[in-house]
Symmetry: C2
Subunit: 657 residues, 2 copies
């Protein structure tokens, strides 16, 4: 079969596999897979460097489907390309436990590089992965040069580009000059609510040029045009590229092409027949895969095979520092949290300090042990204290450093972090706790994808003081704790800061948020027999007592208040135990008997400078929940503590009247 | 005093009042007030139409300080302009209960038009207010023309323009051609972490041109240059305007000008002295206000007086439809929720349906009674069903309609909604519940500002089905319930949908989120003596029983499951009451005796398709919390209900084994 004929056959196969699968599932998005089939087949048969039998090859090019609703496009192409996605898998599109869920899910399907669906996130992930490639290139080299030079090709919809998270990420990519990134914009002029004219009339190309991108235009249905644009973009050495590809949603569908009806619902049997007929496809057949449809893919991966083999040889020949650098990114064993904690505690001062400051020291000590740790701040490096000392800045043309400048772009930071985590690095990102709200969709995706992203959130309560209620977290702590698979660690002293970072470093199957104080916190006593590894149980006693009247449970800055309250209660003839609870997710994993032993005392009292109702789960019906269920206010922290009831005297008043 | 001399004196007064106040508070941001004093004095003495003794004048021009950390700039100018902000207030900057909190707080200080601080939000609010002006102009007219033509002048920092929420809002403004909006960008080339070169190198002017804005440049310290740019922007008829004003942060400070040190901490006594000396200002005096400093302000408001008086005359002369239209925006009484509920129930079908569909009918019925209700969707109008039928679209040059198209820009939608709420309208905005995460910072600000914004979140659980975990809310319900002053209403049937909208319409002191199902829900029984106004208690029995073994408490789609579970329990010889709990915030306000009566039964069991731990507050130590503490999956809804334990049979298994 001639190349162009085989190509066209592959494109039609993808189009109709997608339409058929959506029809069979009676749910899904047929129009975009049909529109983007040509571009995607072009990418997988001419541009992307990959080997389907080694989907985890570290130097593969990445394909990111940011418009994740077009998932059938990806599944169809992965099938034809030889990934472990069978025709039966495709027939089980959107069914329980299938490899082909409604939106692509990372870790679920070979060849799926990130979980997409929430719009804009994929663009940010693509930026992060492209950045990973640049960072990796500087870290792992042999005599021939860098071992990493992978590229990222992403497909993005109107919706992706309307989202702020994509705008923030694109600005970062333009600033850094990520020339290994090509985003193809599916300019179909249709959104769910109708023509893009109703709300999306900006000049997208000009916007991306303003970010410093190289912008090309193409007819998305003309292979020559697409190829020319890709050729120019891949040749571009200094800038990320955007290809504005004019396409027709649902192309070929007799009545639904170029309409929103082609977007989010099955086309209907008749419409699919019509499209097949127009394409010269047997209209009675479904899930048809002509024998030649796989040819362009296998021919391409065959051509790519030599490069892959050569790379594997280079990889096998790595020794010394280069091998160590490679292993640090790609093959590192997870550290043991208890052992790491012990190491991090060595020489760590127990002097009272802000936990943001203590955590900074711990982080720097950890960084020496964990070369994969890279990160930065949303323009609050000085306040969050998350700069890795002496590690150098990442900047345009300079990727050997470890400190990133995300700018005042929290959401972009979160999406880029996920990209970094997906490609060998352990990213951290810092901002004030209040601004965790700006990046929640990305945090959720770290948790869903089980990625080791580390969030450092400082200025963790109203006690940040004068900046007032716009900056004072109230509901953020519990709102984070609600995200499944996110661990939230709010340390109270040096040992807990070390435990927080040790846990975050050891936890490879999900993200961890460190929640740190702006203000200085007192040192904590260590009860007899205390072992710092107890902290990793999530909650543990810092003041012990037999037959206690109260068990005061606190986290972070409130542990010191609880200690003082226990002392005052003692003066009033009451016995109080004090429990520090830095990580409730870890404590939740303890056997109930352990939980009960840690929390023993006649009346349990929670104390935390944030929302109180969810604490009921830990204090029970007879317990008390002290904290803050209103917005904060602008005033010095000690005044706020007095006025808002966050003092030991207030705790005693609440308990004893 | 010559005009230019008085102007300069006013500028220096603002600069040094700001620096002195920050110094006295030992906390705050002096550099930006110093840099922007000239521009702001220019605005308040030549451009803004306002009367300080009537800060609520509905047709006043609005000044928005999007970079809210520069709050002392605003307080200084408000003081000089004659607003009710005294020198003592300024001396109490950032102190408990003062009129001058760390960031400007709406409702707290006369002349503060919106609460700012979280970056980017003020730009979005400004877009919303500019849109309000255009909408109002089409609604309230007399023989002379529209009664509203107010303009919005906003100051924005690098941080504001890096944030995605500002990007989304700016694109909306450009699309709609909001020519009454002028944003002045404080191009000081400094952020907290250093020079903007480290991460913000995009071409901002080109970016805003790509959105369809009119872009001008000015020297921010040259009044003539600023004036020329403002003249051009105010004359521009078709587009919103951006003035890129080159400024020097901390201008005049001998060692800190143009450095990040001028940004977020007091300059220090010596530095302030140096700045005063350089300006020919008595360096030993603090909080100095020369007699001439108020002159340019009073002269300006005196000039503006005639226009104000003329407007008041026109306002007083309004009659008939025009007066009614005015009152609907500016002087409307809050509806009574119970009465409104009764009206909305009239003729409302009780047939089983998806609550999104029922709520759509209620919303359309309500819209006829509430002309201030305007809104739209983040490109999901068809799925969320929030279009107001026959009300017309808002589009470029066409502002008489009520349906807005926000595009796939949830965060921009939230910020624009807040602007609409701040200027006469009751905005609603819709998207899927999962994407509430994209707009949380704006929702929080509605709650903090006590604004009547209404969020319509559909597709409210895993039972949306095949779209899978990226689209399935798990933690979102409780995460919303954690926001202080936000009411979350998750109705289960027609009567509850009517109650949800009635409550949202009547609640003028804060936002309400309606949480609605994609799928059809069964009708509910009405126990003897049921009165629909009981729904407004937040929770009420739908199945009554004496000496019940169980009290099943559910919301939304799970109420039907609870009913079926109660029936199955009955077959097993157990008595179950069923309580529908559509709004826990309202139920929390009930006297405890009422709560106990509603929830009576030996064992309380909560059932909701979302996170379970916070339900402990309502079920107590002996209760059970059934729901979902894991991410969802892609499959048809009935399969998911089976697999994830959201069926009546599962409830019975959990309770009886």
């Amino acid at each position: 079969m001639a190349g162009s004929e085989a190509f066209e056959q592959a494109v039609h196969t993808v189009q109709f596999l997608s339409a058929d699968a959506v029809q069979r599932a009676n749910s899904g998005h047929p129009g975009t897979p049909m529109a983007l089939a040509g571009i995607t087949v072009e990418l997988f048969t001419r541009w992307l460097r990959y080997q389907p039998n080694d989907p985890a090859w570290p130097n593969r090019d990445r394909f990111i489907l940011s418009c994740g609703h077009a998932s059938m496009l990806l599944y169809s192409v992965l099938h034809l390309a030889g990934y472990d996605v069978s025709l039966d898998d495709i027939k089980a599109f959107r069914q329980w436990n299938s490899k082909t869920p409604g939106h692509p899910e990372y870790g679920h399907t070979p060849g799926v590089e990130t979980t997409t669906g929430p719009l804009g996130q994929g663009v940010g992930n693509a930026v992060g992965i492209a950045l990973s490639s640049k960072l990796s290139a500087e870290r792992v080299r042999d005599a021939e040069g860098p071992l990493f030079d992978y590229r990222v090709f992403a497909l993005a919809s109107d919706g992706d580009l309307m989202e702020g998270v994509a705008a923030e990420s694109a600005s970062i990519a333009g600033h850094l000059g990520l020339s290994n990134l090509v985003v193809i914009y599916d300019d179909n002029r249709i959104t769910i609510d109708g023509s893009t004219d109703i709300t999306f009339t900006e000049d997208v190309g000009k916007r991306f040029e303003s970010y410093g991108w190289f912008v090309q235009r193409a007819d998305g249905h003309d292979p020559e045009s697409v190829r020319a644009a890709l050729t120019a973009c891949v040749a571009e050495q200094g800038r990320p590229s955007l290809i504005i590809a004019r396409t027709h949603i649902g192309i070929g569908a007799p009545t639904k092409q170029d309409t929103p009806d082609a977007h989010g619902a099955p086309l209907g049997e008749e419409e699919i027949r019509g499209a097949k007929r127009a394409a010269g496809w047997p209209e009675d057949e479904t899930f048809r895969i002509p024998s030649g449809a796989r040819e362009p893919f296998s021919a391409h991966t065959e051509r790519e095979r030599a490069g892959y083999d050569a790379w594997q040889k280079r990889r096998a020949a790595l020794t010394g520092d280069a091998l160590a650098a490679y292993q640090a990114l790609i093959e590192r064993p997870a550290p043991n949290a208890e052992q790491l904690l012990t190491e991090l505690l060595t020489g760590l001062s127990k002097e009272p300090d802000a936990t943001r400051s203590i955590a900074a020291k711990v982080q720097n000590a950890l960084a020496a042990r964990l070369p994969a740790l890279v990160g930065g701040s949303a323009d609050l490096a000085g306040s969050c204290k998350t700069t890795l000392k002496g590690a150098g800045d990442v900047a345009p043309g300079a990727f050997s450093g470890r400190n990133l400048h995300f700018g005042i772009r929290e959401h972009g930071m979160g999406a880029v972090m996920n990209g970094l985590a997906l490609s060998g690095f352990i990213p951290y990102g810092s901002t004030f706790l209040i601004f965790s709200d700006y990046m929640r969709p990305s945090i959720r995706l770290s948790a869903l994808m089980e990625q080791q992203a580390i969030y450092v959130f400082t200025h963790d309560s109203v006690l940040l003081g004068e900046d007032g209620p716009t900056h004072q977290p109230i509901e953020q702590l519990w709102a984070l704790r609600l995200i499944p698979n996110l661990h939230v660690f709010r340390p109270a002293n040096a040992a807990e800061c070390a435990a927080a970072w040790a846990h975050a470093a050891a936890r490879t199957q999900g993200p961890t948020a460190l929640v740190l104080s702006r203000q200085k916190l007192p040192a904590l006593p260590e009860p007899a027999g205390f072992n710092p590894t107890q902290i990793l149980n999530g909650a543990y006693p810092v003041v012990e007592a037999e037959s206690a009247d109260y068990c005061l449970i606190a986290s972070g800055s409130e542990v010191g208040v609880a200690l003082e309250a226990a002392r005052l209660l003692g003066e009033r003839g009451k016995v109080a135990r004090v429990v520090s609870a830095p990580c409730l997710e870890l404590f939740e994993q303890q056997p109930e008997a352990v939980q009960q032993r840690v929390l023993r005392g006649a009346v349990r009292v929670s104390l935390e400078a944030g929302r109180t109702p969810p604490w009921r789960r830990w204090v029970g019906d007879t317990g008390r929940t002290l904290g803050l269920d209103r917005f904060g206010a602008s005033a010095p922290d000690q005044v706020l503590a007095e006025q808002l009831g966050l003092t030991a005297a207030h705790v005693v008043r609440e308990l004893l009247g």
